[in-house]
Subunit: 201 residues, 2 copies
């Protein structure tokens, strides 16, 4: 007996909410009731924010960031050292680095990493745009800020080869012990890297 309990509108809201990451049918119903109970404070503003996002967010033609303007807020920022380009897999990595706030440089979003298992090949990534940026005379350094996974490191090596003929310097993020991390809980690869790349006190 799959009776319609509350009309198709709420059912549709629940079904769409259930497709959010981390949500299932039960948490989606809970979220729907939470939203309907906070109509003016949350549901209506969220509907508007989503409509704005759906209508106005574009991919920045320069770096691949998401924004309502192209070039994006980061690319239009005059205070950045655009001779350094931080290469990231996705927009969430760009946001994470911006939250860290360690470097005011330019970015280049690859849109993924090479992954033979998932069928991601070089033509699926924005590598042409990256080579074009690396070829510009004012680009001094590419920082490969890719995940320390097999696919991330494979991609880092691929990019290094791709720009080897250019005068640009290519670096990658340091490997080591995370701040606040305890040695006892770290994997051997991280400890080995941290020992190899030890720095003077």
């Amino acid at each position: 007996m799959a009776q319609a309990t509350a009309g198709p509108e709420i059912e549709r809201l629940v079904q769409l909410l259930a497709r959010l990451p981390g949500f299932g049918p039960r948490s989606a119903r809970r979220a729907a009731l939470h939203l309907i109970g906070r109509r003016e404070q949350l549901l209506s503003p969220l509907a508007d924010a989503m409509r704005v996002a759906a209508d106005r967010i574009v991919v920045c033609g320069a770096c691949g960031n998401l924004d309502t303007s192209d070039p994006c807020t980061v690319c239009r920022d005059p205070g950045r050292d655009t001779s350094i380009v931080v290469v990231v897999e996705g927009v969430s990595d760009l946001w994470a680095l911006e939250r860290a706030g360690a470097l005011r440089a330019a970015y280049h979003v690859l849109g993924g990493v090479l992954s033979p298992l998932d069928g991601v090949r070089p033509e699926h990534l924005s590598l042409d745009g990256l080579v074009a940026r690396a070829s510009r005379p004012d680009t001094r350094e590419l920082i490969l800020a890719l995940n320390a996974t097999v696919d991330g490191q494979t991609t880092a090596h691929y990019i290094t080869d791709l720009v080897a003929h250019l005068p640009v310097k290519v670096t990658r993020l340091a490997h080591g012990v995370p701040i606040g991390g305890e040695l006892d809980y770290l994997d051997e690869g991280t400890l080995q890297a941290a020992l190899r790349q030890r720095t003077a006190m």
Copy 2:
């Protein structure tokens, strides 16, 4: 350095998503990127569904269910035995019982349960409406489908006393419901058994 990374529109979307139950800043950012990456399939339909919900969902004047029509889909269903009124704490409980599909009866949503600790007193619940429904000559039975918690059971006894002068039969769910459990979290088999084995108060 709290730089604006992606313009205020995405920030606002993330902040609103972070207020969903079970979401925090990190999962909200993940959800925002998930939505923006599925603009036509998910973000735009979800914005529309939320707008419809915000504009059109009303509380059913007869039972307290949420729907886009008043009376609601359940109350307008001609195939229901309206001589039986299932009394529930909230709309999520009504939905849970409907999913179980064990009984096609009418509902009455209390809007809470009595709770001295939380300051919920009889005047905060829709008890007048319940007594009015219980007084109708065609109402034969009230099924108190309240949580098996102290507050739920206190409320059940309060309602039993409230309608004791009426000829209506008052039953409660069988103790298939685990003590301390909440209806919204139960599997359908347990809810079906609890409805079938309801006992006189």
